[in-house]
Symmetry: C2
Amino acid sequence: MNDVLPKPDHKYNAVAERIEALIEKNVLKVGDKLLSVRALSKEQGISLSTAFQAYYLLESKGLVEARPQSGYYVKYSPEHVLDLPRTSEPPDDALPVTIDDMINSVYVDLNSRTLLNFSMAAPAIELLPTAKLNKAVTHVLRESKTSCLHYEHIQGNVALRKQIARQAFNWGGTPSENDIVVTAGCVEALSLCIKAITNPGDAIAIESPTYFAIFQVMQSHGLKVVEIPTDPVLGLDIDYLEQAIPRFNIKACLVVSNFNNPLGSCMPDDRKKRLVDMLAKKEIPLIEDDIYGELYFGKTRPKTCKSFDKKGLVLHCASFSKSLAPGYRIGWTIPGKFKDKVIRLKRMHTVSTNTLAQAAVADFLSKGRFELHLRHLRKALHTQALRYVQAVCEYFPEDTCISRPQGGFTLWIEMNKKINAYKLHKRALKHNIGIAPGQIFSSQGRFENCFRISYGEPWNPKIEEGLKTLGKLMREWR
Amino acid sequence: MNDVLPKPDHKYNAVAERIEALIEKNVLKVGDKLLSVRALSKEQGISLSTAFQAYYLLESKGLVEARPQSGYYVKYSPEHVLDLPRTSEPPDDALPVTIDDMINSVYVDLNSRTLLNFSMAAPAIELLPTAKLNKAVTHVLRESKTSCLHYEHIQGNVALRKQIARQAFNWGGTPSENDIVVTAGCVEALSLCIKAITNPGDAIAIESPTYFAIFQVMQSHGLKVVEIPTDPVLGLDIDYLEQAIPRFNIKACLVVSNFNNPLGSCMPDDRKKRLVDMLAKKEIPLIEDDIYGELYFGKTRPKTCKSFDKKGLVLHCASFSKSLAPGYRIGWTIPGKFKDKVIRLKRMHTVSTNTLAQAAVADFLSKGRFELHLRHLRKALHTQALRYVQAVCEYFPEDTCISRPQGGFTLWIEMNKKINAYKLHKRALKHNIGIAPGQIFSSQGRFENCFRISYGEPWNPKIEEGLKTLGKLMREWR
């Protein structure tokens, strides 16, 4: 896939970007005819092939369409996009999690490999650098004196931790390898961090909606959750949280700061700073799940809460599962002043993490291949996001609302109140389509008229057909 | 290593075994001269080279010695062996675990890679089939459509579970692949099983002494432990346990049934049945850690508690970490009627286990290579155990007691009461020697005059020197 996708720095890219800006600003409207390839080439002083590539890129994003014997036309306009979902209004209470049974039922339903699965928030394998990763595996097997059969340090492979520390520069972090603990994926990182800073019965504040696996970790540790209203663009309501802390005796806070799953919200950097400062004053630790942070569609990587942490109260968690190698199960945490406790807990629960996978990822990163891969992956995901959004706008009922994520994998869909998402999930299954119903993203089974779909799979006719079918099920709801 | 070790079925093996039996029965005594190689060959009707090999095998086990220009002599006799440690006498109470700090201090001490480390209960890498495992890795990378980058099923790779089910035949089990849950090593299996069957504050019965990682899991789950007196040969005192259950309201029981770490005890099969039946009557679940079960020195594999389980109350746990690939972190559990709960917990804590490592182990096993490897490994460990025991008998003070394990990796040493094992550990560190002090094998820091050494490393002069130094430190104790 690396050879097919356009390099980001090429000339056609700049031209395409300027045309895209005109469409976004509504200067170019849906149905407008664009310059012919020849005219574009002449006007911009670029080659014919560069002009073609610019249109090709815009087409792949679903912004323009080629009409046979006629030329290129604007296809997409911001006016045609459905509304954003509203800011959530969770119950004003600290409550235990009660949705375990529903999550399990949905999981069992979605276990089939033949499903058209919109419910997996993960990249398609074809978007991953399989050949280069395989090379890394065979390379480290050859180089390692033990063929990677030895137990790795509990804190993790040193070379890998060094690479993670370097990568942290992108989000404004300056950790050393000693500050990092490697884990078996991000869920283990979250679970160890939660365990390190809470006791059973404690209340912990989270966004609403929240990724269901986080609820399950909370439940497994016997915690109560206070769900905080969350805006689909700006993230969690910090004022609300500040007032809730004394009322519910909140002991810790957990946010997915960048490209939240499922909402897609990305807390602006100044809000991150405000959140960190407010919590620091009260000495309340903050777990930051930054698993999607590298998958931004904009010009720069959003910062992290961790980058504003002065007291060691932020426990940063992430992994390579969404960006490089889901099956390797390699995640990490930078747990600030809770590091020793996290290492102790790691030893109690899974001891060290897989030696071979750690060495292979370290090797891959040390060769500078991760940055290159990420550039391609971001581009592909951005294109896919636009395509999926466009199809949802086209096929779903007019009163549907849809999030507009600027990174990550997931779209949050809010339907007419009469439609029950769990029932929709059951009906979709009969058409061999998998979605994640909204109920599993709240501690109490709310978001009954919402669901999440992932755009990790590259656009293809089967996906279009699937979204059309979902739209039909919604339109014909009874 | 596979090519060097004798095949178990060869003729010299049978001859060596008969000579070994005579030594064990004291018919041949220490210092006795054995038949010359030529005489042995003639008398037994075997070739000269077979006779040589028989003596060579006995020599590698430390049972005979070659004296230059003179021939072979008996070197070892059961009379010269030190006493067995006594059955443990733990406090008659349900107590929280309080040794976390000491365990951590010992762990930090032992973290150096240059240490002569008697404290690692794991096989030396040279005893593992590295080349064949590497082949399995590259094979599955080539065969897998996703290069093993996809998330594996939470319950684990189906082919691997099938192989584990087949392997279970050896210990009298008949599980299907559906009964098995793959985990990130045995510690995760234990942790999930404990979580599945207990609540914080519950009392759980364990052997005494017990492997320190088990204490840490208990502590992390907020449990109290009731330590049950345990015989160094026969294992846990079932009568004592039966009386303790109502007294301390014991909710579950955990045993390392075969070649217990650190004690080396192996519960005879009829006692296993008695234990399972007794607990079944009271509906009390039993977690069985069988991680060393395949590493027996005798003729047959000991059975498991699980093989006597009729009610689904036994949660069997094991892994490939001690027998095949420590760094792969692949373990499993057969949790009986608690299976669904264990799968849920697995999803909450680490989701799926590493895809590549599971596929590689499944491939290795499916080619029938595991049995062959185990035969070599058992032989090597048996030889090492005899050598280490012999050296301990030779170099440690006369009033030392030592366990006589019939499988596994560890020797349990009981010293004169005046010697403090934690202090010995600290002094040994100065000589660059690592041992595991007895204090970390009890919930309350008892076994002050005991320690554990592992014989996972093949015999060599450095090890002999190390044991000599330990003996010297003990003899000169003040």
